[in-house]
Amino acid sequence: MFQPKKPSSMNSHDRSMCVQGDSGLVLTTDPKPRLRWTVELHERFVDAVTQLGGPDKATPKTIMRVMGVKGLTLYHLKSHLQKFRLGKQPHKELNDHSMKDDLQRNVASSSGMMARSMNEMQMEVQRRLHEQLEVQRHLQLRIEAQGKYMQSILEKACQTLAGENMAAGGYKGMGNHGVPDIGTMKDFGPLSFPPFQDLNIYGSDHLDLQHNMDRPLLDSFISNNDNTCLGKKRTSPYSGSGKSPLIWSDELRLQDLGTAPSCLGPQDDSFKTDQIQLTPPNTELDSISEIYDAKPVHSSDGIGEKKFDVSPKLERPSPRRAPLQAERMNPMINRGSVAQGRNSPFR
């Protein structure tokens, strides 16, 4: 834990003397006066930081304001805050090191360097590395299993809802798809989890990562949202992979479940377009919906092949066959970028 510097002892043996100014700050009398972080001052500092939500959220400027201590400058606070942050997170440094270093350090310290031979230590490190690889492999399998299970839940939920709606006669224009197409539902996942690929390969690869899922709508949103934002290393590794398309379409899909009367296959990107503004009913339509015109579900027709005629206000009619096609993406992309522009000042 970060320890504040102890208050000066006013000892005449000290080379520098400390004086307490009018503001209550303790400064040294060196040729270049430096601030002493007394216990009280530090406590006020910690107080202020806590109020502001922790060392990660507080800034020197806001701390200065909250502390309200005369004579305290941003410079003082900047360096103190930095030390405080480092002091608070000793573990972070360890996390940053590679696994191997970690292991070697752990093994070295636990086995006692003098007592064991280099060979033994190396074997131990090898063993642990091997174990880690095993863990990696298992983790992937387990995540997939969980994804598969989640999917079965979603399928059943969708079925139930569609069944209920059938009974209620709540929708039309479904053609011969009275029940949601389970086959396409399966396309949802198992959450194709690319944990060990380089998650920075966002831009070019997201199409590849989709394999059986067609999510042109999603692509357009994601690809045209600021790539630099998503592509920042590790900021959102998840969305850098094929995952976020899944998430977004999940949201659309699952919000379908909550409100819209039908569940449809993923090829219906134009349909999903409409869905955006339909769901959820209690939230205000956001700017996206201004772009994609409000269009009720029911007016879709020609479901037989899982295709739709897009609302007349959208400039492009949907082509006969659904899947991922560049031409279809284009209007979306344009809209996507506009949407992004509208949405961007989000904080």
Binding site: T62, L139, K148, I153, F346
Partner: protein, 490 residues
């Protein structure tokens, strides 16, 4: 809105108008305990004008909040009409907006529970807060404040004692329409995808279970709150593919069900059971599923659980679900102490990690809760800055109810001394710790690595892993055992 303003006439601020006392003596001015607001209390001269300025600066956000001018006779009132636009540009910064919201929340919480309670004051402050924030737009801090405002509102209304939208006698959550089950599913799926919170708890527990039952042929898990059973899918997969010990042991799960509440009703538990059976069949895992019904007071009777000789008993306790806080008090304690009499091989406990309790007072824990959920909101945003609608759904369906539950819980237990974490309680009643293995810790680190950089895992005790976001610890997974006493005579 006008109604609320009228209430202001009745507000009595006499407690705040005493002058020249130091903040230590004044029982009302306990604000200094958790840091001064914008003005340094210590130097406040307590003259009426300065106090007005303080309140004005807290209430004002530049849009001009007008209250009717109060008669001078009620000299204790400090509400005056406030002009628009404080000129200081600095204060318009987001940080200060956030800070102002925090102070308003603190003031409302203090008004509800502090030494000098004033429900009227709390109500006025909450009205003001509701004007400033909304759960569906604004910054993280603003949305967070919206949920905390609702939670405090719930306390305020529940306080009346009668039926309220928020708190019903049996603790079930009625406010808003019950979330569509599909909304819940969607939000849960999203939460799982956007953050490691769910998987961390499940996988850490599962790994510990796997290690504890390596050589067993029969495993019996008693699950306190099975929800959709998602945790067990990955455990089954691991059991089916395990290399050591007897291959593919038989797995039996007993889920606790409650009579009334929707999510844990008998019907929904049965549905979960069916799903698990189907899943197990699909991967070739020998499996059977049972229910154990709890009464409305949720006292756990160990005898109600069927045990089979030779099986390894595991107790699984996930305490961080959205509806968790609506359990009758004593439910968890009854379960865990009852479970101890069964001498389980392993107990896995996952719960929210709170900050240092301090003297356990309401305000301290309220602030802690605020920081807790602030970190969660931040973590979701950091991972998914663009998917705001997805995040809003998760916030509304999962985090919002948790916030309300947390605040209610803190309020309910505010005068009790023992409100520490469950793992401390387990230790105190005699459970023994079980070490977290290297592989388990490794798995957690790998899992977090799949998400955002800001997550980290710490091993805070030899049997406890804690997931945190930046410098805030959020979720604790701990492993225990309660072996039979060695001199048991049969």
């Amino acid at each position: 809105m006008a109604m609320a303003i009228d209430d202001a006439f009745e507000v009595d601020f006499s407690c705040y108008s005493t002058s020249t006392t130091t903040t230590d003596d004044d029982p009302a001015c306990t604000w200094n305990d958790w840091g001064s607001p914008v003005v340094d209390w210590g130097s406040l001269s307590s003259e009426r004008d300065e106090f007005q300025d303080l309140i004005e600066s807290m209430m004002d956000d530049g849009t001009g909040f007008e209250l009717p001018r109060v008669d001078n006779e009620t000299s204790n009132s400090v509400f005056v009409s406030i002009d628009t636009a404080v000129a200081d540009d600095e204060t318009k910064g987001e940080d200060f907006k956030g800070l102002r919201l925090v102070h308003l929340l603190m003031a409302a919480a203090e008004a509800l529970t502090g030494a000098t309670k004033s429900r009227e004051l709390a109500r006025v402050i909450l009205v003001r807060l509701k004007e400033l924030v909304s759960p569906s737009d604004g910054t993280n801090m603003e949305r967070l404040a919206a949920y905390f405002t609702e939670a405090l509102q719930g306390l305020l209304e529940g306080y009346r004692g009668g039926h309220s939208k928020y708190l019903v006698a049996n603790g079930s959550h009625h406010h808003r329409d019950k979330h569509h089950q599909s909304d819940m599913l969607a939000a849960f799926q999203l939460l799982q995808d956007m953050s490691p919170y769910v998987k961390f708890g499940h996988f850490t527990a599962n790994q510990a279970i796997l290690e504890a039952v390596t050589h067993d042929r029969r495993i019996h898990i008693v699950d306190y709150d099975i929800m959709e059973g998602i945790q067990w899918a990955s455990l089954m997969e691991a059991l089916v593919s395990r290399k050591e010990g007897p291959p593919t042991p038989h797995l039996r799960i007993t889920a606790l069900s409650r009579g009334n509440n929707g999510c844990q009703s008998i019907g929904s538990i049965q549905e979960t059971g069916r799903r698990l059976v189907a899943f197990a069949a699909s991967i070739g895992q020998p499996f059977s599923f049972h229910q154990c019904r709890l009464d409305s007071d949720e006292t756990f009777r160990p005898s109600a659980v069927k045990l089979v000789r030779g099986e390894a008993l595991v107790i699984n306790c996930m305490l961080h679900s959205p509806h968790f806080s609506h359990r009758p008090p004593g439910s968890v304690a009854s379960f865990l102490s009852g479970a101890k009499t069964l001498n389980p091989r392993l107990v896995t406990l996952v719960e929210e990690e709170t900050g240092p309790i301090g003297d356990g007072d309401f305000m301290g824990r309220f602030m802690d809760s605020l920081h807790h959920y602030s970190a969660m909101f931040d973590s979701l945003e950091a991972g998914f800055p663009m998917q705001c609608r997805a995040r809003t759904l998760v916030e509304r369906v999962i985090l919002g109810p948790r916030i309300a539950g947390s605040v209610t819980q803190i309020y309910r237990t505010r005068n009790e001394d023992e409100s520490g974490p469950w793992w401390e309680w387990l230790k105190s009643v005699g459970y023994k710790t079980v070490n977290i293995s290297f592989g388990n810790h490794c798995q957690a680190k790998l899992l977090l690595g799949l998400f955002n950089d800001g997550y980290r895992v710490e091993e805070l005790a030899n049997n406890r892993l804690v997931l945190g976001w930046k410098s805030r610890r959020l979720l604790s997974a701990s492993i225990w055992t309660s072996p039979p006493p060695s001199d048991s005579g049969l």
